[in-house]
Structure formats: C-alpha cells, structure tokens
C-alpha cells in the first residue's frame, strides 16, 4: 500500500453553489423551454444530470432560473447512468439531458441500460429546429427513431404549447407501472418559441392501465398449488424492489416458510442473512439457489422476466415446477417461461391477495432441510494463501464487513461484478445498483455519482474492473467537483477478466484481446483527478486500506492488484442446466 505522490488534499471549501434563490413558487411560462423545466419542477424533480450543447441551450437557459440542481457530467453516457442510478436508489425517475446529435447518441447506452433493468428515467434531448429536421442538419440525428426500441415511450415535442405536457406525461410514464426510460426530443425552435400554456401535473396517458390486483380465481388456484407443494420456492426479482414489495415478501416467506432465491436485480429484496435465503440463482448463482430452482415443484416468481442468464437452458429450467408468475407487465407472462398461474398486478398487492387466500403453509420440512444441506455443501469459498496474490473475493468480503448495512454497491461489468454479487451480503432493497440486463462496462463510476446524490446519507462503494473503469473514469472529475464521498475499488486483474475466463474455458485458452498489461496506475490517476488514491497488493493490508479509504471524506480510489488467474465459480455455461453448475474448470469441460 502506498499513498503516492503529488497528493494534495483537495478539501473543497467552496460551499457548493446553491441555486440562486430568487425563484418564487408559481413561475409563469413564457417559452417552450420554460414549460419543460416547470413540468419537471411540478413533477418534483430537484436534480438533473447532463451536458450542454447547441440545440439544448434554450432548455439549459430555462434551468438558470430553476431550483433544479444540474450536475454537469463529463460524458452523456455518464449522465444517463447517473440518472439511472439516481432513479434506482430514490425510486423516482432520474433526469438526463443532452444536446442533439452526438449528445443524444451518447445517451443511448444509458437509456438502453435503464430499459433492460426497468429503471425509471427521463431523458431530454435537444434537436435541430423543426425546419431543419430531415435535412441532415448539423448535429441532427433521428433521436426518436434511434431510441424508440429502448424507451417505454418517446416524444418529438415540436409544438411549444404541448411541449410541457409531453414532458409531464413522459415523467409520469417513466414512473408508472413497470418503470422504465422515456425521452422527449426538443427541437430548438419549439424550445425558444413563446407559449403561455402552463404544464399540468404529471399524468399517464389514457391508454396506459397497468394491472393492480390479480384475478381472484387464479389467486385461489395458485394458493392451492402452493399449499400442496412439497418443494416450494420463491424467486424474488427486481420487481419486488421496484414495486416496494420487500416487506410484504419478507412477511410472506417467513409465515409460510418458503425458501427464497433472488435474481441478480432482485439482490436486497430479501435479506441474505435470513435462514430462508438461498442467495442468487443463475449463471454465477449459488449452488443452493440453482439446485433449489431446478428441483422445486412450485415456483413463485415475483417481478422477474426469467432472463436467460437466470434460467440457463429453458429445457432444464425448473422442469418439475408449476410456475406462479406475479408480474405487472402482461407481456412478460409466457414470454420465456410458461406461467401455470399468471398473476397480473402490483407485486405488493398480489402478495397480499395470496396471503389472504392461503390457509396453511406447505408441508415442506424435508425440502427445507434439503435446501439447508445444499447451502452447507456448496459454500461460496475461496483460498487466501498468504504467499499468493490478493484474492478479489477477500477484498469484497472485508469491505462488506466494514461497510454500513444499508451501503449501496455499484459495479462495472465482468468478474468483479459477479464477486460483488457473491461476496457482499445484501440485506436491504435499493443497495444493489448494477447493469444487470444490458451488462454495460463503464456503469460503475457514473452510477456511484447518481447513487450518492440520490441517497446522500448512505455509504456508496463501487466495485469496478480495470477495463470497466477505463470506459468512464472521466466521471471521477465530477465526483471530485461535487465532493462526493464514494469509495471506488478497482479489482485490477490487468485484463478484461470475464472474457479471459471464457477464453480459457471455451476457446482453448486462446486469449485474443483480453489482457492489457499497459493499464495506468489507477491510484496516481485518481490523484491527478483530485481524488485520493490507494494501491493495495497484500492480504494483510486490506483492512487498513479499506479503513483509510472509507475515512477519507471525498472520492477515494483503491487500486487492488488481484490474482489475475482468479475465476468466477460456480458457473452454468450459457444455455446450460442450472443444477449442473460447474465448480471448477474441469467440470466445465464435462458439461
């Protein structure tokens, strides 16, 4: 460990520029741009993340007089991920802003990410003036066309009189039902044009009716199936957290003594410290979770879309189970896994309905004992020999020990992300902030910024990969400028390790473009940004470095030089049988 050269305590003494408080309550709308900003204010927005530029300048100009705090990001992808994370931790849509053309295309990865994970977010993009649209004008792209498949709904707001309403509706939609990203494209002339139409408070369009409570007949049948189950299991997905159903789920699982498995986005929906918890299932899930999901006879899936990283091969997924699927989006029913009992509605309310209907717990002592045996047989384990390089699992586990119970973990994508799933203990909802569905490297640094600003009282730690960090590390400048108390831990294996692991496992060790020993020294790099940098190489320094980094008031970066050969297990190869997970590379070969 060393706290290396040229560090100057940046101790920012600037009091953080409070938005000038000249504004009064009901501002009169005079332009389309003002209508957009007032619509956001009406929706309760107090923060936005973005990058300025020509076509969106009128909208930024309207922000000048607003109480909405704007966080200037280094790159629009960072703005989108920060807004996304803000939405995850706060539950309310995060706001991302960008100019037309490259500003909008830079947002695209973040919007797609939010779409895959059903994260609430609204993007406002500038657009060339309507007269120029379609002419390949400077910085013109078809933003509405490009983002159409990755938004819940998007809008071309060409009319200044309805522009405010478009923003209100987009906000309401992002937040309602199954959450997700929306986008409003704002041509410059419409933003600049005069209007006196005051935006209304956010309302979803009349075509949008998310289901609330499930059909009673199906509830009755599902309850009966659950009561009669010999091997029941609950699969708790991201929808449990998004739907605020975690308390109901805890009570439900405990009352009926049903073992609980989580998906990756479902981490934190059910406490992993609970005796009923089997941990996460799927490609790198626990042995117990994957064996339980494979062998159960009734599976109660709540707020999950049965993604392929969870199910493995569909043919071998819970093949003996009657599936009860609690879901707010009708299109998820029977999409990947057939639902014997489809329960459409809000997760919390449907759980209440089920609870009201159930008269007794399933008789499943033997099954619970079996699950317990699996938990004991398949611990998530690793070796920590003193004479070998640092183990990433140890770093994650020690950090979890030091951190607050409700600390928020954000990640990049790769092996480090999986270790962060496996070796941190999640007990609270909205503590896992990761790119689950899209698998976006570079999510870690900006998501921590959004998470910290969305939940300022909570500890935020990011487990990042060296490769992922390099994709968005410029956002460190924002963390420094905003003086955000974030600890970044780079599990540095000098490789895009997950790819290297797959090459070793499935491509005969032909390591094409997966190792990069030319990466920078991240601790020095952090210092050059004005953050605090630490280098961590030895097991016996782990606690000390974690302590110092946590104590540091501001962004700190730990460059943890880990064993480059470490792999993530258990592993279900893609399309494989969850119950047949490999515990090592040899077993991978036999599957």
């Amino acid at each position: 460990m060393s706290e290396r050269a040229f560090h100057q305590d940046p101790e920012p003494d600037s009091p953080g520029d409070e938005a000038d408080d000249g504004s009064d309550d009901a501002r009169e709308v005079t332009t389309g741009a003002e209508a957009a900003i007032i619509a956001l204010e009406e929706a309760g927005v107090d923060m936005a993340f973005g990058v300025q530029g020509g076509a969106i300048m009128p909208v930024y100009d309207a922000l000048y007089d607003s109480d909405i705090e704007h966080i200037t990001m280094a790159h629009e992808q960072g703005a989108a991920h920060a807004a996304d994370a803000y939405g995850i931790v706060s539950g309310d849509p995060g706001v991302a802003m960008a100019t037309s053309g490259p500003g909008a295309t830079n947002l695209v990865t973040g919007i797609a990410d939010a779409s895959m994970d059903s994260d609430p977010m609204i993007a406002l993009t500038g657009q060339v003036a309507t007269d120029f649209v379609g002419n390949d004008a400077f910085q013109e792209v078809d933003t509405v066309g490009i983002t159409q498949p990755i938004t819940k709904q998007n809008y071309f707001a060409g009319d200044p009189d309805t522009l405010g309403e478009d923003v209100s509706e987009a906000f309401a939609l992002a937040d309602a039902g199954r959450q997700g990203p929306t986008l409003v494209d704002l041509p410059k002339d419409a933003s600049k044009a005069e209007t006196d139409v005051q935006p209304v408070s956010p309302e979803t369009p009349d075509t949008y009716h998310p289901p609330e409570t499930a059909d009673e007949a199906v509830i009755e049948a599902a309850a009966e199936a659950l009561e009669e189950a010999d091997r029941p299991a609950i699969l708790s997905g991201g929808g449990v957290i998004k739907g605020e159903a975690h308390d109901e789920l805890r009570a439900f699982a405990r009352e009926y003594e049903i073992p609980v498995i989580t998906t990756m986005p479902g981490l934190g929906g059910f406490p992993e410290t609970d005796d009923l918890s089997l941990g996460m299932a799927g490609m790198h899930g626990t042995g117990a979770a994957n064996l339980a999901i494979t062998n159960c006879d009734v599976l109660l899936g709540i707020g999950t879309r049965f993604d392929d990283r969870l199910t493995g091969g569909v043919d071998s997924f819970a093949p003996d189970a009657d599936v009860i699927h609690v879901e707010i989006d009708p299109a998820e029913i029977n999409k990947n896994i057939y639902a014997d009992y489809p329960l459409l509605g809000d997760a919390e309310r449907v759980l209440e309905q089920l609870d009201d209907e159930l008269t007794e717990a399933p008789d499943a002592d033997e099954w619970r004992a079996q699950c317990q045996t699996w938990t004991e047989e398949y611990p998530l384990d690793y070796e920590t020999p003193e004479d070998e390089p640092l183990k990433p699992q140890y770093v994650v586990e020690r950090f979890a020990e030091h951190a607050d119970d409700d600390a928020i973990v954000t990640t990049g994508v790769g092996q480090h992300q999986m270790w962060a799933c496996q070796f941190w203990t999640y007990t609270e909802p909205r503590t896992w902030v990761s790119s689950n569905g899209l698998g976006t490297m570079g999510y870690g640094v900006p998501s921590a910024i959004g998470a910290k600003l969305g939940a300022p009282d909570r500890e935020v730690v990011t487990f990042d990969g060296d490769g992922s960090f390099l994709m968005t590390m410029q956002e460190l400048s924002v963390a420094v400028r905003e003086d955000l108390d974030i600890t970044y831990v780079i599990l540095n294996n000098e490789a895009i390790g997950m790819v290297r692991q797959w090459q070793d496992g499935f491509y005969e060790g032909r390591r094409m473009a997966s190792e990069y020993p030319w990466i920078p020294e991240f601790d020095l790099l952090a210092e050059s940004f004005g953050a605090r940098g630490f280098r961590l190489e030895e097991h016996d320094e782990v606690d000390d470095v974690i302590k110092k980094a946590r104590e540091y008031d501001g962004p700190a970066v730990i460059d943890a030089i880990i064993d480059p050969g470490e792999n993530v297990y258990p592993m279900v190869p893609s399309g494989g049988d969850n119950g047949q997970f490999a515990l090592n590379e040899q077993q991978l070969d036999t599957l």
Binding site: Q148, P149, F156, T207, P319, D320, P330, Y338, E566, Q580
Partner: protein, 205 residues
Amino acid sequence: MSSGELPGPAPEERMRPEGRRNEQGIRIDPEAEATHQPRYAVLSALVKHEPGVLAEVSGLFSRRQFNIESLTVGPTTDDGVARMTIVIEEPEPGVEQAKKQLRKLIPTIAVEELQPEAMRRELALVKVRAEKPDDVQSVAEMYNGQAVDASPNAVTVEITGSKQKIDAAIEAFEQFDVEEVVRTGAAALERGAETMDANGYASGE
C-alpha cells in the same frame, strides 16, 4: 493457473429432475413432445393517430422476430384514432406474445385477434400486356375484376377480395404477360353487429 475451485458434490452426483420444457418454456411430457404449428392470425388494432406509430409497430414486429405477412393502416371515423390490420404467421405462443407486445405500446388503444371467419379484403392492381384485350377482360370478369386503365399495349385490372381469390386471379392472368402486380395488405373486420372500441370487440372475452 486458473483458480476459483469450489467444494461440493460434482454435477453427476446431484439431485436432478426428470422433466423438461420445450422452446416456449412449457413443461412437456418427454414422451410426447407437443410442437406448435405456425398459424395465420389477423390482428386488428386501434392506435392513436399520431406521427411515428406505424414505425413503432413495424419496428416492434421486426425486432421481436414476428413474421408480418401484411400490415395496413388508415384513418377511422374518429380523427384521433387509426386502425391497423396486421397479418402474422406464428406458432401459438408467438401470437399471444405479439398481441401483448403490441398492446404494450403506449399509442395502442386496443388489440384484438379476429375470428377466422372475419371479413378480409385485399386489393391488387394487375398490369397485363394486352394483345387480346377481350380475353383479359373475360378473365377479369371471372374474378369480379375491373379494367381501370387501358392503353394500346396494356390493360390494368383491379381485383378485390380474399387473399386466395387474388392469388387465383393473378395465376389466371399468367396466361397473358403479367407486367406488374401491386397488392395491398388485408383490411379486416369482424362479422355481425359488434364494433371495436377501447375495450376491444364487445363480443370478445
């Protein structure tokens, strides 16, 4: 050199269920696996009459790999509402998925799958080299077609009807030189007095 070995019984020593699911995620009897044959489905949708909706719907169908045979869209008696008729060919769960995904689009007001006996009409314009215009005319009449244009060298015939009828008509014209064919997709309505509104066809469900 790789590490990350974990303890525990090996794959072949573990509890393993007998059952299986098919590609659609439906549990199957391994003895008698049911495969779903593709079928034609006619979907009728009321959508908000606003720019971009057609692109949204066609984008949805292509990116989710639903096989569109035809898609037509046009105004209705309500200025704010357009009606689409979409003919797809899918195996059973695919039809359901297509309906749900279409319903999920925000501008969509209602989606119904029409009964097989629903009224279905298509239109075709067939341009035929007309050395013997009278022969063309008599074939056209067999299919209730109408010559809509005649020039010294070509006759263009309009035919309306079911897909099968138009297929048959075009085949019959093959005895002449068919120069050009253009066809619309299907427009379809349910038979009887029922009409479709935001809740679908009143008779449905």
